[in-house]
Symmetry: C2
Subunit: 201 residues, 2 copies
DNA sequence: GAGATCATAGACAGAGTGTCCAGAAACAGT
DNA sequence: ACTGTTTCTGGACACTCTGTCTATGATCTC
């Protein structure tokens, strides 16, 4: 197998990817036709079908590319087994998102009937669950909340803020700033955030 | 105008609603055709178009019905102006969702390219923002986090858990139980949830 | 029961899909 | 620069689904 695919294929696939994402953000997934995509990508319609089975396959390709790429980058950050709440994984996701904001926007908005959104949520929840499990074991504490639920809740929070951040007008608030807030929020809770002094315990 | 619409219309619209929701959960929004819907609802295809412009219009109708209904029920719960964290609004949403789980599932999964999801999120975030604002003013504290962001984060958390709950195998965990956990979690934060003693301050 | 409203089948044009083909173009390796 | 391979392309095709319309029958409300 050739390690690097034919330049023509690379160009075509890239153009189709970009065309899909920008058209979806413009009109919504359902309103985008294959004919629109090939027109925007300046590619023959027959060519589309030599690369992808249909619009859905192209969409899935985009989503799994993003997910795969994110996974590799998280792997580098997650190696340390320390049980601290560094927020590094979250920061990495935000950085990754800022490099391809449109693809993230498409996914997080639920375009494509939420398939990308769910894939993203599942992947991230699984990671979160592992992090929590590791930390709970390392610190020998007994969780007061089911860790699966906790992971879902945490990820839901992150994703909502991430989408808000991506949709915010440029210049966006600094990544570190937002992540810092997010970490503090999840650490201390909403009482702290609203300005009350913690009354817990 | 007639206060109660014609029985035939009522029956037809109801059947179309139900057909859409169950077909979408079964195959996904994009894969459902108008022909499928009318077949499942046992209604003539021409009849569909006398009630709704297209599939999208039917979907929007379902979503806004749910939202409208929820809004009315929340209005009853929200009247008290006390600034406590009762969690009553959240409980009401869970109760409402348990009465029509399929419609909620459809919306929360992002079917319909996330339009329902965003409508739901926007409506709930606006409510959350009001609650937070009221409480901050009533207690004369200075929030440490932008209340818009806080509202988004909180709602994201709720929605993720709500979907998890709706997708959980029956019998589902008791509503009060889940809501109680959710309230405690958002109040005290993730440190508390994982079993650590709060180190805040 | 009468008049209004609604449901229905079938016909229609049009948009978009997915497949196929044969020729043109661009490619990689020598 | 040449060659064999791979990719791109437009045009043709059958097909599915859409949205509109009409005439007729069925069902409502009062």
């Amino acid at each position: 197998m050739t390690v690097i695919e034919d330049r023509r294929s690379r160009r075509t696939r890239g153009a189709l990817r970009d065309a899909l994402v920008s058209l979806v953000l413009e009109r919504g997934y359902a309103a985008v036709t294959v004919e629109d995509i090939v027109a925007a990508a300046d590619v023959g319609r027959a060519t589309f079908y030599t690369h992808f089975k249909d619009k859905e396959a192209l969409y899935d390709h985009v989503v799994s590319s993003v997910l795969q790429d994110l996974k590799e980058r998280l792997a580098e950050v997650l190696v340390p087994e320390d049980a601290g709440f560094t927020g590094e994984p979250v920061a990495e996701v935000f950085r990754h998102a800022s490099e391809q904001p449109d693809a993230y926007r498409m996914i997080l908005r639920g375009e494509g009937d939420g398939r990308g959104l769910r894939a993203f949520e599942d992947a991230w929840s699984a990671t979160a669950f592992e992090i929590f499990t590791t930390r709970v074991k390392a610190n020998a504490v007994r969780p007061r909340v089911d860790l699966q639920v906790l992971a879902r809740a945490w990820v839901g929070e992150q994703m909502a803020v991430l989408l808000w951040w991506l949709d915010a007008p440029e210049p966006r608030p600094a990544t570190d700033q937002v992540v810092e807030t997010l970490v503090e929020l999840s650490r201390r809770g909403r009482f702290w955030a609203t300005g009350f002094d913690p009354d817990s315990r």
